[in-house]
């Protein structure tokens, strides 16, 4: 499980997270939605231990991430796969080498075992035979899949997706979404997907959380989201800026759906 409790984070004068809380149950795929630049990626980086919260706690697998020393953190990271927005493949290496990067850090894995696992992972994301290519020779969708293959190679328990479908055509988006579902079904991972693509979120998520103003504004299943009447949520889901940006007196609200209350 992944649990964030009252996380605050500021960069200089810019307050990005102001008391964000979230629970992702084991085996669940949770999506965090919100417009670009509200700190969704920042949230993910807290979970992966790339950033430390100014205050609040981050738990992954019952371990408090900010309190781990580097050795413990690295051990935890083997159980946490991170799929970057633009794949973040290492340009200087072939796809196969990229995918094998995480495996090379695991004690006891020799070249042969790594190569086998790499092939397996590439097959899982439908990139068989592409291992010898360099990232620059791949299309955007292929890169995302290669990034996914790299994230799943060490057989993580948790997968963090940072905008997995951004910049892709609808068909490729659907392919990626299907892959995310496949990871959950076949590998049983607990996934946290950050996206601003509602179609994608509806498709992959068991629960969806709207990140607004540094807090979890609304949490619920896709059907609950569809039914919810929250002004900001409706504004975001329907792509209505008037609704989304309008300042109203209904900022403090409690929502159904077993989610979190604002400012909890």
């Amino acid at each position: 499980m992944i649990r964030l409790v009252d996380v605050h984070k500021a960069f200089g004068a810019k307050q990005v997270l102001r008391g964000f809380s979230l629970d992702v149950r084991d085996g669940e795929t949770s999506a965090i939605v919100g417009p670009s630049g509200v700190g969704k990626s920042v949230l993910l980086k807290h979970v992966a231990g790339l950033l430390r919260p100014d205050s609040g706690s981050v738990f992954v697998d019952s371990q408090s991430v900010p309190d781990l020393d580097i050795g413990e953190l690295n051990r935890l990271r083997r159980r946490v796969g991170y799929v970057f927005q633009f794949a973040a493949l290492f340009d200087s290496m072939t796809v196969a080498r990229n995918v094998g990067m995480g495996l090379r850090r695991i004690p006891g894995w020799d070249g042969k075992r790594i190569a086998g696992r790499v092939e397996e992972c590439l097959a899982l994301v439908d990139l068989e035979g592409m291992g010898a290519r360099y990232p620059s020779q791949l299309s955007g969708g292929q890169r995302k899949r290669a990034g996914l293959a790299r994230a799943i190679a060490p057989s993580p328990k948790f997968l963090l997706y940072d905008e997995p479908t951004t910049g892709l055509d609808p068909v490729t988006t659907a392919v990626i979404d299907r892959l995310i579902l496949r990871m959950s079904d076949e590998l049983g991972v607990t996934a946290l997907v950050v996206t601003h693509d509602m179609t994608s979120a509806y498709r992959v998520a068991d629960r969806i959380t709207l990140l607004h103003d540094g807090r979890a504004r609304f949490t619920g299943t896709p059907s609950e989201i569809r039914a919810a009447g929250d002004r900001v949520l409706r504004g975001f889901v329907e792509g209505d800026p008037d609704l989304f940006f309008a300042s109203g007196s209904d900022d403090e609200m409690t929502h159904e759906g077993g989610g979190y209350q604002n400012g909890a």
Partner: protein, 260 residues
């Protein structure tokens, strides 16, 4: 009115804070990198490739610069040493300046452009495309993976490149003296040997080690602290080169004061 009076103080304060901030970040980075040296399994595979990239690949440009420096030194020395001073001092001047000053410093400055910019652009791109974060999520210490092999390669290879540059520069000066100045080989060599001390070579080597650390360190620092996209990479590359050059010149004076 009062505001106008306060403005200069605010400016000084800002500058001071910014400078202290940079120093703090540099300290964090390099002390972290020093601590990361113990992760030998991460950086050792990258040391030789980085030595090839930073050192071997820099040899041609360093030798090119040194050749022409040697020629110019020789010609200018002969132009200056007229009348009372014997011509064999051309050898002394070429040798001493190449070994003590021009070899290490010119090579350092050229490599600040070549190596520093290269490292900064590479790490900057890796930073803005989240490859540095990716390394971390794959349980690689980015300092051990990126900074340690580069700085070590710089520290190890700079003196080598500089020593080669010095020898080529002296040979070029010698050749020029023979061909254009109607000096004899023995005259030039007499001058060359006149004030030669083996310590000079150590001095050059020590200087180049520090320059290697500065150039690669500056590249890593500004590369890893890149913000924004392509523009950020450009800005940090420029800064890496400028700062490396400035530190090289200051260090040059420092070493001259401390070691000579």
């Amino acid at each position: 009115m009062f505001e106008l009076l306060l403005r200069p103080f605010a400016a000084v304060g800002n500058l001071t804070l910014a400078g202290l901030g940079t120093m703090g970040r540099a300290w964090t980075l390099f002390s972290g990198a020093a601590a990361s040296v113990r992760n030998t399994d991460i950086w050792t595979p990258h040391l030789v490739p980085q030595m090839a990239r930073i050192g071997v690949a820099s040899v041609p440009i360093a030798l090119f610069i040194a050749t022409f420096t040697g020629i110019v030194m020789s010609l200018q020395a002969s132009y200056t040493l007229t009348g009372a001073i014997p011509l064999y001092f051309v050898g002394t001047l070429v040798g001493k300046t190449m070994i003590l000053e021009l070899g290490p410093v010119l090579t350092g400055l050229i490599l600040a452009g070549r190596v520093g910019a290269n490292i900064s652009a590479e790490l900057g791109t890796m930073r803005v495309t989240e490859q540095v974060d990716a390394l971390e999520t794959l349980a690689y210490d980015p300092l051990a993976y990126l900074v340690v092999p580069r700085v070590l390669a710089g520290v190890l290879m700079f003196p080598i490149v500089v020593l080669l540059a010095i020898s080529i520069g002296i040979l070029a000066g010698w050749f020029t003296a023979l061909q254009l100045l109607e000096m004899s080989s023995s005259e030039f060599v007499k001058g060359l040997r006149l004030y030669f001390a083996p310590w000079d070579v150590w001095f050059a080597a020590i200087k180049s080690v520090s320059f290697g650390a500065v150039v690669t360190g500056s590249g890593c620092f500004y590369g890893l602290h890149t913000e924004g996209g392509a523009e950020g990479v450009g800005a940090s590359t420029t800064r890496a080169v400028v700062v490396a050059c400035m530190i090289i010149v200051c260090l040059d004076a420092f070493w001259a004061a401390v070691l000579l």
